[in-house]
């Protein structure tokens, strides 16, 4: 992989050049939190941020999206609205790039989703390294570093950003700047290693995911699920903010006074009552305990069986979003803990 460095003082110059590759979006501050947004001006970008409220998944899988328009006589005509828009996402953390790679497995595997595919092709990603806070457990989830899925990835090594060039597009961005980027030498590599080591030591949380699948099977009937079910409000916030939750609902609407209409999909959550409800009235996950258990089970066990790793990247968003403080890392930790027989 091509590795270069950019003097920090030249970052705004780089940003202005990169705009020719698409509309520039980056984290900006909003009421004390961060959101990915179109930049009005470069100084609004906040590259030192903890986490955005919504993950970048909103660009690839929008909260609401028209799939088809229906007109009598024409049938279902695919909507291409917004699919060809070129965007450059600046400042995506490793866990979030990792999460997009996980979405790729679902949406670009068998039966490719062409809407996702088009957006993925037209949205460039410039990643940036970060410092974990007390809710991050991406290292435990093996998502603290990412080796593909971005066009460029920046590591802050003091006076420079060290840049991994992930794609030909990333390379074009570098070339478009003329000679802003410089080659890296041994001192830069050492600076990187030191940064990597410091990051490792900065984690507050550590959960063990080896054999978690087996533990989930063993603890399927655990009382912990009922306890969580009594707390959970089924608000679905944890799904909305999760960078790897991809469940969606589809609905058809007819335009008033006509027989034309459209088919839309929108984000959904397995915590909602009707997620597994069928017409006979049967609901395969009627009570909250079974739904919250399903969320954990699917991410930490089901996805492993299907795609070889958990679908959680440890970004900590669900913990921030949950109104009743249900904490993913804590739940995993409790499931793993050896409890004495008497307390069961």
């Amino acid at each position: 992989m091509k590795i270069l460095k950019l003097p920090k003082g030249k970052l705004d110059l780089f940003a202005s050049v990169v705009q020719q590759f698409g509309e520039l979006h980056a984290p900006v501050e909003q009421d004390g939190k961060y959101v990915f947004k179109r930049l009005a001006r470069w100084p609004d970008a906040r590259l030192e941020y903890d986490r955005t409220i919504l993950p970048p998944k909103k660009y690839f899988l929008p909260p609401r999206e028209t799939l088809f328009r229906y007109r009598p006589g024409e049938g279902f005509v695919p909507s291409t609205d917004g699919l060809d828009q070129r965007i450059v996402l600046f400042g995506v953390h490793a866990c979030d790039v990792y999460a997009i790679n996980i979405l790729d497995q679902v949406f670009l595997g068998k039966y490719k989703d062409p809407y996702y595919q088009a957006r993925r092709r037209n949205i460039a990603i410039i990643g940036i390294d970060c410092t974990p806070d007390k809710q991050c457990f991406c290292r435990s989830m093996r998502a603290d570093f990412v080796d593909h899925g971005f066009d460029l990835f920046f590591y802050d090594t003091g006076d420079y950003y060290q840049a991994l060039v992930g794609t030909a597009l990333g390379d074009d961005m570098v070339l478009a700047t003329g000679n802003l980027f410089e080659p890296v030498g041994p001192a830069d590599i050492d600076a990187y290693k030191e940064r990597s080591w410091n990051k490792r030591r900065a984690f507050h949380l550590d959960v063990e995911i080896r054999d978690l699948s087996e533990i989930f099977e063993m603890e399927y009937e655990s009382g912990i699920w009922d306890q969580l079910g009594r707390k959970c409000l089924s608000c679905g916030s944890c799904s909305m903010v999760c960078p790897t939750c991809y469940c969606y609902d589809v609905s058809d609407d007819v335009e008033l006074g006509s027989r034309a209409g459209k088919r839309t999909r929108s984000w959904d959550s397995c915590l909602y009552f009707n997620h597994a409800l069928v017409a006979s009235g049967e609901n395969f996950r009627r009570d909250r305990a079974s739904r919250i258990k399903f969320r954990f089970y699917h991410k930490q066990r089901g996805f492993v069986a299907e795609y070889g790793r958990p679908s959680c990247v440890g970004c900590g968003r669900c913990v921030s979003a949950c109104p009743v403080n249900i904490d993913t890392a804590q739940v995993i930790d409790r499931l793993r803990r050896v409890e004495d027989v008497g307390s069961r």
């Binding site: 049938g75 279902f76 291409t80 039966y111 989703d113 609902d249 609905s251 997620h275 017409a279 699917h298």
Partner: protein
């Protein structure tokens, strides 16, 4: 939205869209049973009508314009191509809208989806089909496939139960099978107030008394409401059926049919991709299965 000729023809949304419904004409509506009509469809594109192939047990996503999309089993056998027969029970929003349509109206179809019955494995064995109520819909495809390739299968037994004779799906064609010697067709009704029923009266499991089944060389395909599974599965296990030779067809909420929307998941499998046909062995290993 881009108008058609501006869009480069390679746009994946236009050319390779797994969600694209293909328009099909309703060529016949047969009112088999109150609120359980049989819809016969033919794709508008001749090419598609000729090339569409499915496996018994697979399903399609059926769009009723303006109302929505839903999973429906293909009730016709692949051995009788060109048209698709769907047995649809009227239960809610989308099925209601379908029931408002008339012959020659258009619907959308995409598929076929799901694994279908493992025909390669089943062939050369005996087949036991056991269905209750609407469970006959997916099994009918398998039934006619086996009858149309009669020499490829061993003994064929059908056990089907409905509440009353007038609730029996595909009644005429099934009654006509009773006299055939190449299939043991056992039909029963829970009750027969009319007194005109010539078949068995009683619950479905009672039909085992009239069937000769060798569990060592039989595949059992079971489909129906939960009570059917409850009684039939136990019976099959008691007879000594290996767990991977009991095949069940499951229903889950489905919004995509292609492993994306997440609604159909059971434990760690997606009903639309690894199902809807599951073995009993899957069932006891997946939580929430039945």
């Amino acid at each position: 939205m881009l108008v058609a000729d501006e869009v480069a023809t390679y746009h994946p949304v236009l050319t390779e869209n797994p969600y694209q419904p293909h328009m099909a004409r309703i060529v016949r509506i047969h009112k088999m049973v109150e609120n359980n009509h049989l819809f016969t469809l033919r794709f508008l594109e001749d090419q598609l009508a000729h090339s569409f192939r499915h496996q018994p047990g697979q399903f399609i996503m059926l769009s009723v314009p303006g109302a929505g999309e839903m999973p429906i089993s293909i009730s016709s056998s692949p051995s009788r191509p060109e048209v698709l027969e769907l047995c649809v029970r009227r239960v809610g929003r989308v099925t209601d809208a379908l029931y408002r349509l008339k012959t020659n109206d258009l619907v959308g179809v995409r598929g076929p989806y799901g694994n279908g019955y493992p025909m390669q494995e089943i062939m050369a064995n005996d087949v036991l089909l056991a269905a209750g109520g609407l469970g006959m819909a997916p099994l009918r495809s398998l039934l006619w496939y086996a009858l149309d390739h009669r020499d490829k299968f061993g003994n064929i037994t059908l056990m089907y139960g409905a509440k009353r004779p007038e609730d029996m799906l595909f009644r005429e064609e099934l009654v006509a099978l009773v006299d055939r010697t190449d299939i043991n067709c056992l039909l029963t009704v829970d009750a027969d107030p009319s007194g005109a029923w010539k078949g068995h009266v009683g619950l479905l499991p009672a039909l085992f008394d009239y069937a000769k089944i060798d569990p060592a060389r039989t595949y059992a395909a079971v489909c129906g409401p939960p009570v059917v599974y409850k009684f039939i599965l136990q019976r099959l296990l008691d007879l000594g059926f290996p767990k991977n030779r009991i095949l069940m067809s499951l229903e889950r909420r489905m919004k995509c049919g292609v492993g994306k929307c997440g609604h159909c998941s059971i434990g760690y499998k997606y009903t639309c991709m690894q199902g809807p046909i599951f073995t009993y062995w899957d069932a006891i290993n997946l939580p929430e299965m039945i």
